[in-house]
Each structure stands twice: as structure tokens, then as C-alpha cells.
Amino acid sequence: MSDILIDDRIRDWVFLPIIIVMFMIQMFRGLLTKYMDNRKTAQKVTSKAQVAEMIDKNITQQSQRLARLHGLLPDQSFKMKRAYLCDHEQGILTKASQKPAKDPMQSMSMMNPVAMADMLKQNLSGIVFMALQYQWVSYFFSGFVIGKVPFPLTQKFRTMLQRGVDVQNLDVRYISSISIYFVLLFGGLQKIQQLMFGDDTDEFVDDTQMQMQMQMMGMPTMPSFGQQNDPGKLFIAERTRLEGVKHTFELNKSSDKALKSLKRFLIQ
């Protein structure tokens, strides 16, 4: 099939506006999350269940830190700390792992108003905008071909890429406007935005991908509530890890290391 000529006005009034609008909505979302984060006040740990959870979390953090940084401690200190955690009867980890597995906490965590507010905010800044954009694009710009993808695709993609265009035998390369929306969505306007607007060192998480994964998994997982159903296993795993640690005090090796780096420095 010969090349299709596409009107100039499609470029002016469809292609560029979609890109510009999506980019601006992306920036707006960034500002919105920043604003909401600034307004978040410190959460008071009120309920007993939350206190117990914080204790568990702190215990795991302590044992993980010990497993990671054991080289900084001399032998006696390390053994004391490990015994505090892992002792057969009195160690904290053994006590914690003997607690009964909690019931599915979904109902209880739903009643927690702070967590619900957090979830609503996340939803608002993510999924609502996505749905809005999809509706906007598919309402205004459906029914015509907008461009061409440069690479060959199989027929399977035809329904996704040519929604609204009912011409059979049209080359799968010609795409409708909703596919431009998808390309922009997955392609990561976020990265460009990060490049242009900020070296925020804590912007490592890209939340659209994470939220879409969460939606695809089907159940609403909340990041602040860890593994509710089996904390015992977690503690047992931590305990076996700690007991398997081979401890050497780094200070013993330090004179060798100093010699090595001095040699390397002098040779250069």
C-alpha cells in the first residue's frame, strides 16, 4: 500500500497538543505530589497494633544492620549483640518469631484513617490523571490515523494501535492517537522531566510504573504495612542469617590494607 499523506493540520492540532498536554500534566503531577508531601504532618502512632508493628520493624532493622556491619565490632561486642538477638530462649528474634501469625490485617488497616488518606493521595496523583488523559484523548481524537511507527509490527498489535480506525488491510504501522498516548505514557516523560527540573536525590522511585504494577496484581498492597501474614518466618530467616555470619574484626586486617594502599599510591 502506498504511503498515506497526512494533513498538516493533524500535526498542528492533534499530535503536538497531545504531547504538550501530557507533558504539562506530568509536571503538574510532580508539583502536586511535592505540595502534598510538604503538607503531610508527622503521624502519631496511636493504636497498639501500630506500636507493635514499629517494634517489629525496628527489630528487623537492627538485625539487618548487625548482619551488614559486623566487621566494625570487636569479637566480644559482636557476640553479645548476636546473643541478645538470637539466643535460644531469651533472644529477641526467637521471641518474636514465636508470636502467632496474625490474621489478614486488611480490615484493620483499612480502618486506619491515616493510611487510607495516604492511599487516596497516591491514587489521586497517579491513576486519576491517567484515566482522565485516556478519556480526553479517546473522546476528542479518535477515528483517524495520526502517524506511523518506524518499526514493523505483527497483526496482533492492530487492535491496540488502531483503535477507532476501521479500515482493514491498513498497514499496522499507521497508528491512531490513543497509541501515541500509550507510547508517551510508557516511554517515560518522567525521565525527561527529572532531567530538566531537578536533581532531587530522592526521586529514584517512578510511581506510575509501580502503581500500574500494583493495579495489575489485583490487590491493593500498601507499602507501609509489611508482610502481615507471617512475621514469624521473617524473624526465623533473620536469625539463621545472623547465626551464619562469620565474624572478623576489620581492625585486624587494617595494617595490611594500609600497606597495600600505600604501595599503590607510591607506585603511581
Binding site: 498538516d8 556491619l69 495520526i146 502517524g147 518506524p150 507510547v183 510508557f186 516511554g187 517515560g188 525527561i192
Partner: protein, 109 residues
């Protein structure tokens, strides 16, 4: 690049410097894939040749990185795999997006 010297023995003394290095690496790679997309789109490359341009520019970026580090990868990153090869899939979508946009703007519309 940011300051060098990441010490990685068993103690895992990763400082903030490793984090800053990886941020810079990510930025450089995004620039690289943006440029690759613009080149592939404007020149009207088709299909697999375009993806080849992306891979080629990715490796050019890695080579420039290596030259700037004086080939001593261990001082700046955890491993040479991390610094040179690891991010090739994540920026591919970005390249595709820019490629589609520029290809349409320049050649078709």
C-alpha cells in the same frame, strides 16, 4: 563524574558518592538515548537499523564514560557490568518514544 573513591570490601562502606555517581550515570544515559532517538527519527531509519543506532550510541556513551574514568571502573562503580551494560533496557522505551515522535514530525506529518 562526581567524586571517586567508593570502598567496597565486606563492610560495604558505600558512601553517598556511589549514589551520586549512579544519578549522573542515569542522566548521561538519558541524554544519550534522547540523542539517539532524535538521530534515528530525523534520518528516517527503519525498523532494526534504528534499534541498532540506539545500541551503538549506548556503547559510545559507555566508551566515553570509560575514557573519563581512565578505565578504572572499580573506583567509581560497583562493577563494570553496572557501569557499562546494565541500563540498556530501561532507556529503550525512552528511545522508542523519542524515535516515534521525531520520525512522525519530520518524515510523515
Amino acid at each position: 563524574m562526581e567524586e571517586p573513591k567508593v570502598e567496597l570490601d565486606d563492610l560495604e562502606v558505600n558512601q553517598d558518592r556511589l549514589k551520586q555517581n549512579t544519578i549522573q550515570l542515569k542522566n548521561v544515559r538519558v541524554y544519550g538515548s534522547l540523542n539517539a532517538g532524535v538521530i534515528a527519527g530525523i534520518l528516517g531509519m527503519d525498523g532494526w537499523i534504528g534499534i541498532g543506532i540506539y545500541v551503538a550510541i549506548f556503547f559510545i556513551v559507555s566508551t566515553c564514560l570509560a575514557i573519563k574514568m581512565n578505565f578504572k571502573v572499580k573506583e567509581y562503580f560497583k562493577s563494570s557490568y553496572d557501569a557499562y551494560y546494565s541500563g540498556i533496557g530501561t532507556d529503550l522505551l525512552l528511545f522508542l518514544m523519542i524515535w516515534v515522535i521525531f520520525h512522525n514530525l519530520v518524515n510523515i506529518l
